[in-house]
Symmetry: C2
């Protein structure tokens, strides 16, 4: 575990690098969009995304060629209480499925030309076999049917402690997971990533994310807790009661996001906090997935108030807490498809919309090029 002072200095540097967007780049992007053969603003969110991407990267037309989705995986002590429809062993089994390329994220990332990195910051059970850890994806086919993941094993501990009974992580453990996220963010950006999508895997992690969301927003657990992978009414009621007990035990202040993370969070949430902060500080867009990555972003945004401008919310999950999180971050989701899977699947889907925004920006004809008349007087001020 990294000693406190060194971590503090590193984190401070990251937080200071997360400032407002580049207004000049955004204005240049908007001006370009208004010369294209369409009514100004008529492509709605696509145009807003193109402008936001310019502001994040600090250039009018940043590339979006290299994209990685990071699936941060870890286990949760609270899973032993039966909060999920699946046993904890599924976390490790799904990591193997990611590596083999058989999961939903494998298929959807391939369709979006994204590579997948699985970051194991605290999965329980034996470490994967060497064969499972063969980390470099196979040579890329023209259109691969699935993206086998590169696996990074950086286990802080084999899952969190039971957040109902005790703090899920020590401060040192949470810091270690954050630093692992910061390290990977730096590596990805150095490797040329134009956008980083965030995903997760961890049986029990909607319980942790609901607890974190309740602690940070002051909402009652019943308002921010859902069925996760699909529990029935009785298990949902029990899950809510467990979260209420955890909050009573921890008595966190909403003004202490790091404390909330330690008490109620997960190792993957901490890793995601580091990733989001590190990618944003490097001037690259962070594409959130659903509820769990949103809860991590909520923690990160309490540390870096300008962070949300650098986040893109891929979709709105059916988990009720996700709506609360998106409202808290001031983010409008790109998609709303009743997803509740995680893994970064929503992020992979939303990449197509980012690609569309960039394609329109770069490839459409202007009014002058196409010989099309522009709007007459009487056209309204197009809202964007």
């Amino acid at each position: 575990v990294t000693p406190e002072p060194a971590f503090g200095a590193r984190l401070r540097g990251v937080l200071e690098a997360i400032g407002p967007l580049d207004a000049a780049a955004m204005a240049a992007a908007a001006a370009r969009l208004d010369r294209l053969t369409k009514p100004p603003g008529s492509l709605g969110r696509l145009e807003a995304l193109a402008i936001q991407l310019a502001g994040i990267r600090g250039e009018p037309a940043p590339p979006l060629d290299r994209r990685t989705i990071v699936v941060v995986a870890a286990d949760h002590g609270v899973a032993a209480r039966g909060v999920s429809a699946y046993p904890s062993a599924v976390t490790r089994q799904m990591v193997a499925n990611f590596v083999a390329g058989g999961a939903a994220i494998s298929v959807l990332a391939a369709r979006a030309s994204a590579s997948v990195v699985v970051l194991d910051v605290g999965v329980a059970g034996p470490e994967p076999m060497v064969a499972e850890r063969a980390t470099e994806p196979a040579a890329e086919a023209a259109e691969p049917s699935a993206a086998p993941a590169r696996l990074l094993v950086r286990r802080v501990r084999p899952g969190t402690r039971d957040l109902v009974a005790e703090p899920a992580m020590s401060p040192g453990e949470a810091r270690a997971a954050i630093e692992i996220g910061l390290d990977l963010a730096a590596e990805l950006v150095a490797g040329g990533a134009d956008v980083v999508g965030l995903g997760e895997m961890g049986i029990g992690n909607t319980t942790s994310a609901s607890a974190v969301t309740a602690a940070l927003t002051g909402r009652a657990p019943a308002e921010v807790t859902g069925r996760g992978t699909g529990v029935d009414d009785a298990r949902l009621a029990a899950k809510i009661r467990l979260i209420e007990r955890a909050l009573d035990r921890a008595r966190c202040s909403p003004d202490d996001p790091f404390g909330v993370l330690c008490e109620l969070g997960g190792l993957e949430l901490a890793g995601l906090v580091g990733l989001a902060l590190g990618v944003a500080a490097a001037g690259r867009p962070v594409l959130l997935d659903g509820f769990i990555t949103g809860a991590a972003a909520l923690v990160a945004a309490r540390l870096a108030p300008d962070l949300p401008r650098r986040l893109l919310a891929a979709h709105r999950s059916v988990e009720p807490g996700h709506r609360v999180i998106l409202d808290g971050l001031g983010l409008a989701p790109i998609l709303d498809l009743d997803l509740r899977l995680g893994e970064g699947t929503g992020a992979a889907l939303a990449l197509h919309m980012l690609d569309a925004a960039v394609a329109v920006r770069d490839r459409m004809a202007t009014f002058e090029e196409a010989g099309v008349a522009a709007a007459e007087a009487g056209a309204g001020a197009a809202s964007r």
Copy 2:
């Protein structure tokens, strides 16, 4: 113009072919999805789309390889009254832009591997030069940056009459445009189309679509009329008053969809009615774009009550009438991106979500294949 009896027999045959979906194919698709390594139903709309596609085509896993977006183009007599921010000449200019591959639909269709056909059923002005009509797209590149459109010129008349003053089309003209749509639908399906997206271009056509929507739903024009390409408050108010006058003049019965189409519609709306009916009757999915294609679908659904099950609503436009149309058709939009462009751009974007649904269906590992444990007792009945 086709004589009434022959048209009547042809249309009757088409309408009779539009029945309920294939329940066995849908059940087989749902069963397949539930064996995949994800909680049942957790991919939400993607799973629902995969099931709907099975029901439409009548097979558990229909292909989605060949896709065409048809942009039906025509002019509107009412445009002379200044209801749009753009002059009528822009319809013809944009058709040339589609053929050259410079428009938003050119770019977005290429990204979705869709070909574009522009069907000119009534654009005003000189017919395009031969060079502009060179109809076959260039050989396909690996990832073409834009899709030059194939242009079919089948003009019924050079734009509709002014719907404020007189019927927009004679019954013979509307029938002719519907038949042109039916002809193209048959040609596309015979050519192997797995899905047909609908788009449109026609300066003034939001006025026509709002009038048709008001006439068929009984809503007041102010409830279903928006800014189209972006008119200001004064022009919006004038547009609403013109639609009120048109409705007072025409006094259509909501139970006479063909009469509403003749009185208030556009030639492209009539062509879209024929396309939607013809594609659906052939057992292929119809991917609607926004407000104009939705208004055409509303007319078509009054003729064929089971049609909406065979329609996919790509997105929800910012035009207020579109929400009314989607409610009337019982359709939930796939995307909601504040688009108001038309051309089929929303359809091109939504194709990525259909592709994702099909990729998940075909490429994910099953629980057995991946060695992942299925849900425990206590998992809820997953809703889909």
